[in-house]
């Protein structure tokens, strides 16, 4: 309990420090101005969300191969956490886009593939809600989760393979791309903070699945006599 509280406090401090760096340490971008500061929350949330979906994907593969409950718990936990981060990505994107592009949204390859990703993981959670038998639910959702992850490389590649309204990549974007050194440091610090938050939320969500299992066990015992 004490360890969880300390870990939680550290993560909160890290997120506050990342926000401080985004507002007061990162320089103002020349063409977009102050609004570009949304980038540090927007892109870092996107990266943490994709990592969570990768964890979900790996857990789904392990479940299909080994049929252990803990992989199902990790799969659903990572899907929910990834969905929370992708929701932040989809909220902050239009708020940043509106003053810069003059529109809130456009159906380009990056935005569309991200929206589809968000819908796929909502479908993953809805699917779990529709199947009552636990083993069948775990297997069906694991198979669905493996296929849903196919969209993640598409989201990554969309701004590299096609012309999009969304800006071209500034990280891993090839020659001519990149960030000013202080901006890059603040960005990677924000990525670290968002990943720490993702791990915290994931561990709390996994704990919920363990508690649910404990509840079902006690319920079974109570019903048996």
């Amino acid at each position: 309990m004490a360890n969880r509280a300390i870990w939680g406090a550290l993560v909160v401090l890290l997120v506050i420090a990342a926000a401080y760096a985004s507002f007061f340490i990162a320089p103002t971008e020349n063409s977009m101005g102050e609004i570009q500061r949304i980038f540090y929350l927007h892109a870092a949330s996107g990266w943490a969300g994709m990592t969570a979906f990768f964890v979900c994907f790996v857990a789904n593969i392990f479940y299909v191969l080994r049929r252990k409950q803990k992989y199902d718990w990790m799969g659903v936990s990572a899907a929910e956490v990834g969905l929370a981060f992708t929701t932040v990505l989809l909220i902050t994107g239009p708020i940043w886009a509106h003053p810069v592009w003059g529109i809130w949204w456009t159906w380009d390859a990056r935005l569309t593939s991200t929206f589809i990703l968000w819908m796929l993981y909502i479908a993953y959670l809805l699917l779990r809600g529709m199947v009552e038998e636990p083993d069948r639910r775990a297997l069906l959702s694991a198979v669905f989760g493996i296929f849903a992850f196919i969209d993640v490389p598409l989201v990554f590649g969309a701004i590299r393979w096609w012309r999009t309204q969304h800006p071209q990549p500034v990280i891993m974007g090839g020659p001519g791309s990149g960030l000013e050194p202080t901006m890059r440091n603040v960005f990677f610090f924000s990525v670290l903070a968002m990943h720490a938050l993702m791990v915290l939320l994931l561990s709390e969500r996994y704990r919920l699945e363990k508690t649910r299992d404990e509840f079902l066990e006690v319920q079974r015992e109570a019903e048996a006599g």
Partner: protein, 45 residues
């Protein structure tokens, strides 16, 4: 600072989503803990 309202809205909504998610997980866990205690107590009687 231009567009300060948009920056504030983005950060407030972003942190809001994380906070609401954390709260929902904590409440669901706490409700289950309560149910476990209730079942254990009813068995003990």
């Amino acid at each position: 600072m231009k567009n300060l309202d948009s920056i504030f809205a983005a950060y407030a909504l972003g942190w809001g989503v994380f906070f609401v998610f954390y709260l929902s997980v904590a409440r669901r866990t706490s409700a289950l803990r309560g149910e476990i205690e209730r079942l254990k107590n009813s068995r003990g009687k």
